[in-house]
């Protein structure tokens, strides 16, 4: 009789608490995130598609309108301007960042005095918050007293009106995007440092020149990083928002030339309170981003080389 209670008390904790390695701990540890995953990702994803078929305005529950939001967008001139702007911008920004990023990274990888300093310098613009970046460049690209046009004037070139014209607005944004490319450069640099020196030495023995080394060794071995940066670049360019929004005070001026897709989506949602339309736009964007990613991945099999293959 006396032995009994002590045995119970010994066993009791094992029954109350789960044994070490019990699957319950996995669930418990992941629980906050599983809630977050559901509430902030899965549920919004699903409800966004539902909203896109309603006339929801943010206050009064919308009714089901079928594909009207989509049809309205197809007939909306500004929508198509935004689509065109965004694709034109992406078509400029993705290759430009790719080429400039790789070139600068190759330069920074050269064994040269002071390269540590050059590397930090390339990173500095990345540290400046976007709003500050836009302030700086609005002065630099000011057509009357900005530095860029002053320098162009000094070398005898006419300065373009930059943000002031439809033609030059997107190149202006592109210039800013290229200025803040430091993080991108760093990824290429990391890739370059992984390429064994012996590859270049072997190529040199075979009589390969600098150009040959770059196209036959450097680029192929850098291709996984190029793929990664291409996909991130496409996604980023299609979502271009803050720079254009800050610089144009949310107007997308001049003549809608800086009205990007994400900005028009924002305006539909929070300026015109057409939440249904905004979500229709969001879903179309999602589909395009997915399709482009899949496309780039599929095509990449032809040009991406992984080391050791």
């Amino acid at each position: 009789m006396n032995a009994q209670p002590s045995m119970v008390s010994k066993k009791a904790p094992r029954k109350v608490f789960f044994a070490a390695n019990h699957p319950i701990y996995g669930w418990l540890f992941a629980l906050p995130w599983l809630i977050g995953l559901t509430v902030f990702y899965i549920y919004p994803l699903c409800s966004s598609i539902v909203y896109s078929f309603t006339s929801f305005n943010g206050i009064v529950a919308g009714r089901f309108v079928g594909g009207r939001n989509y049809a309205d967008l197809m007939a909306d001139e500004t929508f198509w301007i935004a689509v065109k702007n965004t694709f034109v911008f992406a078509a400029m920004a993705v290759p430009a960042s790719l080429i400039f990023g790789i070139l600068v990274a190759v330069l920074l990888n050269a064994k040269i005095r002071g390269r540590g300093v050059y590397r930090v310098i390339a990173l500095i613009p990345t540290l400046v918050p976007v709003v500050a970046v836009s302030i700086i460049w609005q002065w630099l690209l000011n057509s009357q007293f900005g530095l860029v046009n002053y320098l162009l004037y000094r070398v005898g070139l006419p300065g373009p009106p930059w943000f002031g014209s439809e033609l030059w607005a997107k190149p202006s944004i592109l210039l800013i995007v290229i200025w803040t490319i430091g993080a991108n450069i760093l990824t290429y640099l990391a890739g370059l440092q992984d390429i064994p020196e012996s590859y270049y030495e072997a190529a040199a023995i075979d009589g390969a020149g600098a150009r040959h080394k770059f196209f036959r060794i450097t680029l192929p071995l850098l291709s996984p990083i190029i793929l990664y940066n291409t996909i991130m670049g496409i996604i980023g360019a299609l979502q271009q928002f803050t720079l254009a929004f800050v610089i144009t005070n949310g107007q997308g001026t001049p003549a809608n030339s800086m009205m990007f897709y994400a900005m028009y989506l924002y305006k539909n949602a929070f300026t015109y309170f057409k939440m249904g339309t905004a979500n229709a736009m969001a879903w179309m964007m999602f589909v395009v981003v997915m399709a482009l990613t899949v496309f780039v991945f599929t095509v990449s099999k032809k040009w991406v080389h992984y080391m050791g293959e």
């Binding site: 070490a20 005095r113 918050p129 709003v131 700086i136 200025w179 928002f241 803050t242």
Partner: protein
């Protein structure tokens, strides 16, 4: 031949560096100029006298101190939130065995692909129903429920650690939570520091979130507050540049303190903030 090559690389690097540095230099330089000096032609490369008026004027034009506190408050709470949730989830995905773990990790990776615009309105509606729009909470709460990207990053680190540690700890009767907290988390300090820096950057720089959720101007963050120079005070360049310097300063400080970690983090992920 080799010397010529070196010379051309050196020259190109100097040119590229000028492109990166000059805009930054002019931000700092213009912040010390007077308003009149900003319109002087030809452009002056140094302010005539170092003039601190731009810095003083910011505080009169916008409630800069207020915005600074708001931004810091959100940033600090976000960084804490990220540390509370992400390592736990990452540890669970990396080292604990439970049914559904791998599919759920796959879903975690997949949701990183969702553009922010897709989930923006529904999340806004959630906070709107909770009557939290116009408060700081929508900018803080989500971080306490995990960021998929950080979870993925930390999982990679946890995955690479030896199993012997946990086995011996279990034999000694350590609880699962203690094993995580006392053994694995300390080893992962560098990785946790990296995600803290990332979150700090992205909270400090966030423009979209405050734009959607903060409605009264005394609650604005720095990124939103700086917008105010542009409507009413479009032409006052020195204070605008001074403000730009001041909001960049904390990040530059963090960069120089955590330089190595910061660079490792970027190379690993390739993202800005």
């Amino acid at each position: 031949m080799l010397r010529k090559y070196h010379l051309s690389v050196q020259l190109s690097l100097i040119l590229v560096s000028l492109f990166f540095v000059i805009p930054f230099y002019f931000m700092v330089c213009t912040s010390f100029k007077t308003q009149a000096e900003c319109y002087v032609y030809p452009i002056t490369w140094l302010p005539e006298h170092f003039n601190l008026r731009g810095y003083r004027d910011i505080f009169g034009m916008i409630p800069f101190g207020r915005y600074f506190l708001n931004t810091s408050y959100i940033t600090v709470l976000n960084v804490i939130g990220v540390v509370c949730c992400c390592p736990l989830a990452a540890y669970s995905f990396a080292r604990l065995k439970w049914r559904g773990r791998d599919p759920l990790f796959f879903v975690t990776l997949a949701v990183m692909m969702i553009p922010y615009q897709v989930i923006m309105v529904p999340i806004f509606m959630i906070f709107s129903k909770l009557k939290l729009v116009g408060t700081f909470w929508p900018l803080i709460i989500p971080q306490y429920f995990g960021v998929p990207f950080y979870i993925f990053l930390l999982r990679q680190f946890f995955k690479g650690l030896p199993k012997d540690l946990e086995d011996s700890a279990r034999i000694d009767g350590c609880s699962e939570f203690r094993i995580f907290l006392k053994i694995y988390l300390p080893i992962c300090k560098p990785a946790v520091l990296t995600i803290m820096i990332f979150q700090m950057l992205s909270s400090w720089n966030d423009f979209n979130g405050p734009l959607i959720y903060l409605q009264r101007s005394e609650m604005y963050t720095l990124q939103l507050g700086l917008q105010q120079f542009k409507t009413a005070h479009l032409t006052y360049w020195p204070p605008m540049m001074a403000a730009a310097v001041l909001i960049s300063l904390p990040i530059i400080l963090v960069f120089f303190i955590a330089q190595k970690r910061f660079i490792e983090g970027i190379t690993f992920t390739g993202i800005k903030g």
